[in-house]
Structures are given as C-alpha cells and as structure tokens.
Amino acid sequence: MSDPPVANRRTSHSPPLQRELEGAQRAILSRPSIPIRHRLIFSLLLCFILCGLFGLVALTRIRQVRGQLDLLEALEMLYSRSLRVQLLERQEGSSVEALRDARARVEEAEALLAADAGQRRSPREAEAYSKLLSRLADYRSLLGRLESAVDVQERGREMAAAQALEAEIAFRGRDLVHRERSSVARLLRSSEMLFGTMLAVLLGFFLLITFFFTRALMDPMRRFQAYTRRIAQGDFSLIRPARAYRDEFSELALAVNQMLAEFQTNQEKLIQAGKLTAMGTITSGIAHELNNPLNNVAITTEALMEDFKALSDEEKWRLLQDIYFETERAGEIVKSLLDFTRDERPDLVPVDILEVIEATRRIAQNEMVLNDVRFELRAPPGLPLVRGAANQLRQVFLNLFLNAVQAMPGGGPLTVEVMAEKGLGRLCVEVRDEGIGIPPEHMPHAFDPFFTTKEPGKGTGLGLSICYSIIQKHGGTIEVTSERGKGTTFHVCLPLANGEKTGAEGPRLDRGPAEA
C-alpha cells in the first residue's frame, strides 16, 4: 500500500468514477443550449413587438375615425351654410363680402370632400360624392356670378338657380351625413371588437410566457430540491440530463456533479478510514489472542530446553504436541486477520454470506468472549449467493457486531439470523442484541456520520454511516428497529447474485422506521 504521488492526490478519483463523471458531464453538455436568458429576451422582445403592433393598429383606427369625423363636420357645415346663404340672399342688398365669404367656405368644403372622395368607397358612394362635388362646383360658380351681377333682373334669375342648387346640395348633404354617421358608428363598433381581441391576445400571450417561465424555473428548482434531499441521504450518484436541451441549470448540474464526484471519493476514503477504526477496536483483542499461543509456544519450549534430560519421552511428546497445536492456532489467527483485511477488488461478485459472517465472527471472537457475549448463528441450509464485495460486507458485519458487543456491557446473546427472500430476489440478515437499545430520539440519527453516544475516544460515529453507504452501493437496504432497554436489531438485505428484481424500482434505501 504505497501512497499515490502527492501531485495527483486532489484530483485522483478512481478511474471508473472519473469515467462516469466524464460521461455524465458529456451527456449534460451534448444537448442543444437554450439559455433562460435568451428565452427571456426573446419573449420580452415578442411582447414589445406585439404591443407596438397593436398600438399602431389603434393609431390608424383613431386617425380613420378622426378623418370621418372631419368629413362629417364639413358636410354638416356645408348643410347649415347653404341655409345661411339662402338667408343671406333673402335680405336685399347683401354685401359682396358676404358672398365671397360663403364661396370661400364652399371651396373649403369642396377640398375636404375631394380629399375624402378617393378613400375606399363603394362605387355607389363614390358616385354620390362626385355628384355632390359637381353640384358644389356649380354652386360655387353661381355664387361667383351672383357676386358680379349688377343687374337686378339678372340677379333674380341667378338667385333662383342658386336656390334650386342649394336645395339639391342640402338634400345630398343630408343623405351623405346620414351615411357617414352610420359608417362612423360601424367603425367605432368594429374598433371596440378589435381592441377587445387585442387585449385578449395580449393576455393570452402573457399567460403563456408566465406559464413557460415558471415551468422553466420551477421544474429544475424542484428537481434540484430532490437532488439535495437524495444527496443528504448519502446517495451520491451523478445527475443525468432530465430534459432535451440545456440552460443555466445545466451549469449548476455540472458543478453539482463535480461535487458529487468529490463526495464519492471522500466516501471511499471514509470507508477505508472506518475499516481502520474498526480494526483498531479489535487490534487489542487480536494482539491478545495472538500473544496467547505465542506465549504458550515460548514457555513450552523453555520447559523443554530446561528439563530436556529429566523429561520422559512421553512428557517430551506432550510438550511438542502443545507447541505444534499452539503454532497452528497462531497461524489460524493470522489467517483470519488476513482474510478479513484482504484487499479484494470492490467489484460486486457472487458471495457466500455465511462465509462473510464466519470470517467476521472469527475476528470479533475475542472481543465477544471477553465481554461474555454469546454468538449464535441461525441459517437454513442451501442459502443462495448474494451480489457483493466480501471485504466490504465483512466490514459491515464487524461494525454491527462491535456495536452489539458495546451495547451489552454485561454480556448477552448476539443472534445472527439469515433468511432468503427468493420472491423478492434478496437475502436478509438480522443482527440482534439484547443491549441498551437506541432511544427513539436517536433513531433518525443512528446512520448519520459522526453520530455517537460513546465517550470521546471510544466511538467515531462512523460505523453505521459506513455500513449504510456500503449497503447502498450494493443496492441493498439496512434498517434498524430497537426497543429501549430490550435490545436492537439491524436488518440488512442484499440482492441475490442471480436474482431478478421483482419490484420495478431500482435500489432503494430505508433508514429505518424513524425516518418518514
């Protein structure tokens, strides 16, 4: 076990993890980018254009109506003015100025009508206008002649003609006023409709924008909330793309993945550290256990050497036998220690759970004996293999056994029961003690890293959190039930090596009944 070069250390994820991280990051980045910023700008621009367009439409409408109103006014003026000219004419000796004035007004009205005449009118309307215009022209020239007429007789004739024309103009004018009025009313009514629809369209557009933006913001927010919950529970699997495109949240996902990769490496280190801690706990036991056969060999050899001549052959044989068996015993202890710490690859392969439990029992044997803990294994024959990494599973059971021993200071039974749940494609192990139990208020924290009720220096509080992450990596579950003063049971379930999962869901974890 040599340390990696220092320069590598910070970034040295284990290669599969590095590959997995790269894969996830690539998947996130490979989607087309549609940043929220761009979508926001686009939507606001669209909104602005729509509002501008509607404003333009409204403006032209208003101008139209104003034009109509001007025309109407002109027509009305014309109508009332011709009456005035009639009145004027009736008075004898009407002044030339008054006539000129009247003519100027007629010209004004003519110009207005002429300007309006060309505007989108039906042929019938256009005809009515042109007729009115020609009458007006006639009237104007008549007024001119009236102005210059000096002779009374001539004047009387012209006056009569003017009056006839005036009557006709008034009639036509009234007709047109009527027509224009109803056209203005129509225009106003249709404008009302137009503005109503524009408002509705704008409102709909706003609703659409609001909907899309809340979705674009809230959905990822909710998703990330779920991620943090999952991470808090110790599930450090990387984030995969959830949508077909990427945006600002994808940047966040990249950063979170980077963090998760770091977490995973740290967790591996933590597991390694936890293994050493657990080994530390049993080192004294192991040393003690190893020293016993060594001491036996040493003193027996000493006895042999001291009294070699005095001893009978039979006695020598007995002593040699002692040496032989004690050496073998020491060898067994060393072997079980090596078995336990053997650094296998952490691949998940078919594993015999009973072998794992037995190896763990052997290593913790001394600790149990010294604390008057009786170990009992209940297992039916013909158990299926589970999918796991034996050395990590040994670590799990060592932690559970040590916790059980520590929970029973006065000794007691430690029962391990193994049962296959073939229907669920898993195998479950119950580790049961009759110790102090876990109080309900501690239950939600039992698996938290650094949660310990043991005195400083005695417990790191890492044991169960490491069990949890190891079992989780195996796609299994670990739960705890406990009754204060009566005892505690840990339920560990692992997927079978060849078992098909019956549930549709993937690996799921429960942290015991205390967590909702």
Binding site: S284, A287, N295
Partner: protein, 122 residues
C-alpha cells in the same frame, strides 16, 4: 520457614501447566486456576503471598482481582500478565498497587524470579 503460597490464574491452561513445576521447584506452594470466577472464590477462602494473574479474561478481569485483593488482603503481592499492555491499563494497575507487570510472551525464568522477589518483599 513455611512455604510461600502462589495463586496462578490464566485462562490458557498451558500457562498454569508449565508454571506449576517451575514455581514448585523454587519452593512455592502453587495453586492453578483457569477461570477467574473460581480463583476469586479461592481468594475469598484463603490468602496467598503472591497472585499471578492474566489481565483480560472472560468474567472478572485481572484488574477486578487486583482491586479485590488490595482491599481484602493488601499484603498479597500481585503480578499482572498481559497479552496487550496499554499505557492506561499499566498506569491503572500501578495505581492500584500491582507489584509488577509482565507482558506475553514472557520467560518462565523471569517470572519465577519476579515471584520470588515479590514473595520476599511481601
């Protein structure tokens, strides 16, 4: 001079087996125990000049015996054998008045010498 008495307690039967003839040759009266419960009972019955005890055992530990003997028969000298000595346990044993510490694996000659020394001192 009356024989000095020694009680040897170790849950390894071989230890008592080997020590008994050696200590007897040194002129001690030797009683061997492999269970601390039994040894404790015996200690309640009579006193010994020297107690040689293992530290970690099933049932009462060497430390428990040391505590008991220092209360009941303070004149008894105690030699503690350990398979794994930590600083704390050695300090604790010293504080409780243990005569000497000896770590496994030990030499029987050394232990015999220690017992003689303890018997003289006691």
């Amino acid at each position: 001079m009356a024989e000095k008495s020694v009680l040897v307690l170790d849950d390894e039967p071989i230890v008592g087996d080997r020590l008994k003839p050696v200590l007897e040759r040194e002129g001690f009266e030797v009683e061997i125990f492999t269970e601390s419960e039994r040894a404790l009972e015996r200690l309640k019955e009579r006193s010994f000049h020297v107690l040689v005890t293992d530290m970690k055992m099933k049932g009462p530990s060497g430390m428990d015996l040391l505590r008991f003997i220092k209360e009941k028969a303070p004149s008894t000298q105690v030699i503690v054998i350990t398979g794994y000595a930590t600083i704390e346990t050695s300090h604790e044993a010293q504080a409780l008045g243990a005569f000497q510490f000896i770590a496994k694996p030990f030499k029987m000659k050394e232990l015999a010498k220690l017992v003689s020394k303890a018997a003289r001192g006691g």
